[in-house]
Symmetry: C2
Subunit: 481 residues, 2 copies
C-alpha cells in the first residue's frame, strides 16, 4: 500500500501503513501470525527498530497484539475493521435544509456533563497546547490593551494575517496578508463567501454527504444546495460537478458556486487529488461558477504532512478559501479567515456590515503562537494521536456493531462516517443513545435531501474507556434495532 | 431647567445643568458675571460646596471661568454654544444604502496612527478599566480551559447571560438567562434580529439620521430602510411611525419592522420618553410590525442614571432588544447580545447557522467583571467624563466653526452631530480633513437617502490638546469652504 500523496510521515509510520493495508485487505486474517520483526526488517529494507516501532503503533491502534515468545498476531476482530461505504449517488435536485431544530436539541444535550459527546467535531482537549496558549494570552492582554479598547481593523489584526499568509504558502498558495479577512470562525467565512459568490441567489453544488454547517450557511444565504456524488477516499466526482452545472444550464437553474472540502472531508475524511483539484478549478472557471474551498482539516493529515489547497492552483482569483483554527488550536477563540481572491474588496465590505471584526485578543494570541513556532511541533503530535484514535474507534465499531456496519478510512481529521444496515434509522438511534448517555450525529444532518438516514458521524478524536463503553452501548442499541 | 427623566446625577451636577441651561438660553450672556457662590447656594437651597463643585464642572466644560476676587463669568464664546439641529423631515421612500466604499476607505485611514480619529464611535481608552479586565482575563484563561477547547454553547456562556439578565432588570426588563443569545457585537445582533423579524423581506423603519451600521445590516438582510422624522432630543416621532406604517399598507409595501435606538441615539444623543416607548410598542403591536431596539448607549446617560429599555414595556414578546459591551467595556471583545422575545428559538437557530457562538474567554471575562461589581463604579466615572468631554467639544466647535454651525445636546453617549451651512459638503470636508490629519464621519453615512450632506458626526469621547487642535483645523477648513 503506497503512502498517499508521496508526502510521508516517519519511516515506521510508512511501514505500519503497509502492514495495516495487508490486514484490512485480509492478506493477514484474524489470528494470523505477522512476519517476525527480523523478516519484515529484511523484506522492507528497514532497521529492526523501525519494525518494532511500526508494530507498536499497530498495537496501539488495536489491530495486532504480541504473544510472549511468539511474535505479533492479528487481533481476532481486526479483519472485521469495517468495510468502507461506497461512493454516493445523491439525486440531482436542489434542496433546502430543515434540520435546525434537531441541531438545536443536540446542542442542549451537548451541554450535559453526563453525556459522552461523540456528535460534534470538537478537537481532543488533552492534545491542545493550553498552557502555552494561556501564557501567550496573558502577556497579550498586558502588552496589547489596544486589542481590547478599539474595534481593531475590520479585516483583522495584521500580525495574524501575516502568519496565515505564511501558513497558506506551506499549502501552496501565494497570498499577501492584505488579501486575508479574519472572521468569527470558518462558519462565518463560509456564509460571507456564499454571499459574495451568489449575490443574486441560485444553486450551490456540495459534496454528498456534506457538513451540516455548509447546508445551514447555504440556507441562511437564501440559496439552494445540490449534492454531488462523492467518493469516501477520493472526494467529490469532478465529472459529476460538470454534469450538474450543464444540467443546471439546461434546466434554467444555473449553478453559481461549488463549495467543497477537498482536504480531509467532513464527514468522509477523503482527500481530493491534486489533479482533481486542478480539474475542479478548470471546470468552475469554464462555466463561470465560483469555487469555495473549506480547508479546516487541512493541517490534520494522518500520514500526509500538508496537502495543497485547491486555491494554490487558482490563477484567476475565482476561489474563496475559508478556514479556521477551530479544529487545530481552539474552537472557543472563534477565529477563522477567508482568502477571497478577486472578491476581496467585496468580502471586506460584507464582513464589516455583518459583524465589524473578530475578537482582538484571541487574534493576537494566535499570531504569537504561530510565530513562535510551537504550532508544527504540536501538529505532529496531534496528527499522530488522531490517526491512532481514529483507528482505535474503527476497531471498536467493528467489535461492537453488527457485521454489516461500514466505516470510512479517513486520511486526516478526527471524524468517522458510519454506515449501518438500511433498516436502521440514525435519528431513532440518536434518540435512544441520548437516553443511554451518548450523543451521536445522525446522518440526515449531512444531506439537504434527507439522505443517509442509516448513517451517523462519530467524533473519534478521543480514545479512552469512556469512548469504548459508549461505543459498546451504541453497538448494543443497533444490534437490538 | 428640569433634570430630564427625573433620575438625576449628583446634586452639584443638577445645579450645573440648571446654570448651563441659563447660559445656553442666553439668560446669562458672554462676559456676564454669574451669581456669587453664596447667592446661588441660598437660591438653590444647596450647600456652598455644592455650588463650588457645580461651577468647577462648568469651568471644566469650558462654559465659565473664574476671575480672582470677582467670581465666575460666562466665557466670551459660551453663548455661541451652537444652536441645535431641528427635527428631521426625511422623504417617506424606501431606500438602499450604497456607502460601503466610503466606510472601507475610512477604515483604512482609521488605522493610520498619525490621524486624529473623530469618525468612529470608539469609547475613550483612558477611561476603560484595562488593568482590572486584564487581571480577570488572566485568571479566566487559567481557570477555564473549556472556554478555549470547546465551541461553548451557541447561545453563549451561561455565566454571562446571567449577568446580562441582572443588568436588564436594572433597565426595567424581566428576562431569564435562557432568553438571551450572545452575539459577535451588537452589529451581528441587529443583523440576526432583522433576519428573524423579516423572513420574507420588506421595509424597515429607522430613525433619521440613523447609524450606518443599521443601514448596512438592513441592506445585508436584503431589506429596505425607510427613514422617519426624529427629534434631536426626544427621539423618533411616534406619529410619523404610524403614518409610515399606514402609508406602506396603502402602497402595498408593508413595513415589517421598526429598528430604533431610543436611549441616547447615535448620532443625535436624544432620549425617547417612557411614554413614547410605550406608544411605539403599542403601535408596532397593533400593525403586526416587529420592534427592534438598539440599546448600546443605554448605560451611558450623562445625568440620567439608567433609562428603561422599550423592551421593559413589551408584554407580547414583540421586541428584540440588541446591545453590546462595545461602547461601555471593550469594543475589541466583540461581545453583544440579543433578547428576542417570542422569536428566541428562531434566533438561536439563526445564530448557530451564522457563526456558531462568540469567543469564550471574552464572555467569561465580562461575566466576572460584571459580577464582581466594578462595573457601576466605572460607569459613574465614565458617564461624568463623557458629559464633560461632550460639553468641551461642543464649546470648541462654537469657538472654531462658523457662527451658523449647529450641534446636538446629547443626553448620553459620546458623539455629537454637527450641522453646517447647507453649502458645505461633508464628504468634501472629510476628504480635506484627512489630508490635515483628522478623520470625521460624513453625514451622508447616516441616511439611506443621501440626506445630511452638510452634517457630520464627531466622536467627543476624548478631550485633550490634540482634539482641540483637530477641531481648530476642521473649523478653518469649513470657514474656507
Amino acid at each position: 500500500m503506497a503512502v498517499a500523496g508521496g508526502q510521508s510521515g516517519k519511516l515506521y509510520e510508512q511501514v505500519a501503513t503497509r502492514v495495516r493495508g495487508m490486514i484490512l485487505g485480509r492478506a493477514f486474517r484474524p489470528g494470523d501470525r505477522l512476519p517476525s520483526v527480523r523478516d519484515l526488517s529484511r523484506q522492507e529494507g528497514v532497521s529492526v527498530t523501525t519494525v518494532i516501532e511500526a508494530y507498536r503503533l499497530l498495537e496501539a491502534q488495536g489491530l495486532i497484539h504480541p504473544r510472549p515468545q511468539s511474535g505479533y498476531f492479528v487481533h481476532a476482530y481486526a479483519s472485521s475493521v469495517p468495510a468502507e461505504p461506497t461512493r454516493t449517488e445523491p439525486a440531482a435536485v436542489p434542496s433546502e435544509f430543515r434540520l435546525e431544530e434537531l441541531l438545536q436539541e443536540m446542542g442542549k444535550h451537548n451541554a450535559d456533563p453526563a453525556v459522552v459527546k461523540l456528535a460534534f467535531a470538537t478537537p481532543n482537549p488533552s492534545l491542545l497546547p493550553h498552557a502555552k496558549l494561556a501564557r501567550i494570552m496573558t502577556s497579550v492582554v498586558k502588552d496589547h490593551p489596544e486589542a481590547s479598547y478599539g474595534y481593531g481593523p475590520s479585516s483583522g489584526h495584521r500580525q495574524l494575517r501575516e502568519q496565515i499568509a505564511q501558513r497558506a504558502f506551506g499549502a501552496g498558495a501565494v497570498v499577501s496578508p492584505d488579501e486575508i479577512v479574519i472572521t468569527t470562525g470558518c462558519q462565518e467565512a463560509l456564509y460571507l463567501a456564499l454571499r459574495a459568490a451568489c449575490p443574486d441567489g441560485g444553486v450551490v453544488l456540495v459534496e454528498s454527504p456534506c457538513h451540516y454547517g455548509v447546508l445551514q450557511a447555504i440556507q441562511l444565504a437564501g440559496l439552494r444546495s445540490m449534492e454531488v456524488c462523492t467518493r469516501p477516499r477520493e472526494g467529490i466526482c469532478v465529472d459529476a460537478v460538470e454534469e450538474a452545472i450543464q444540467q443546471g444550464l439546461e434546466d434554467g437553474v444555473p449553478v453559481r458556486a461549488c463549495l467543497v472540502n477537498p482536504n480531509f472531508h467532513n464527514p468522509l475524511g477523503g482527500l481530493l487529488s491534486d489533479r482533481d483539484k486542478m480539474r475542479l478549478i478548470e471546470v468552475a472557471e469554464r462555466y463561470g461558477v465560483t469555487l469555495i474551498e473549506d480547508d479546516v482539516y487541512g493541517d490534520l493529515g494522518h500520514e500526509i504532512e500538508r496537502p495543497r489547497v485547491a486555491k494554490s492552483y487558482d490563477e484567476q482569483g475565482n476561489v474563496l478559501l475559508c478556514s479556521s483554527f477551530s479544529k487545530t488550536i481552539s474552537p472557543g477563540y472563534r477565529i477563522g479567515w477567508i482568502i477571497a481572491g478577486k472578491r476581496h474588496a467585496q468580502l471586506e465590505r460584507l464582513k464589516h456590515a455583518l459583524s465589524y471584526g473578530a475578537a482582538g485578543i484571541p487574534q493576537l494570541t494566535l499570531a504569537e503562537f504561530l510565530s513562535t513556532g510551537g504550532y508544527d511541533v504540536y501538529l505532529r503530535r496531534a496528527r499522530k494521536a488522531y490517526a491512532q484514535n481514529v483507528a482505535r474507534v474503527s476497531t471498536a465499531i467493528a467489535r461492537y456493531f453488527p457485521a454489516e456496519t461500514k466505516v470510512t478510512r479517513p486520511a486526516g481529521g478526527f471524524v468517522l462516517w458510519v454506515e449501518m444496515a438500511p433498516r436502521i434509522d440514525s435519528v431513532k438511534l440518536y434518540t435512544e443513545a441520548v437516553k443511554h448517555g451518548v450523543l451521536i450525529g445522525p446522518g440526515t444532518l449531512f444531506s439537504g435531501q434527507g439522505n443517509y438516514r442509516n448513517f451517523f458521524r462519530m467524533n473519534a478524536a478521543q480514545w479512552n474507556e469512556e469512548t469504548e463503553a459508549a461505543i459498546a452501548r451504541l453497538g448494543k442499541l443497533v444490534q437490538g434495532m
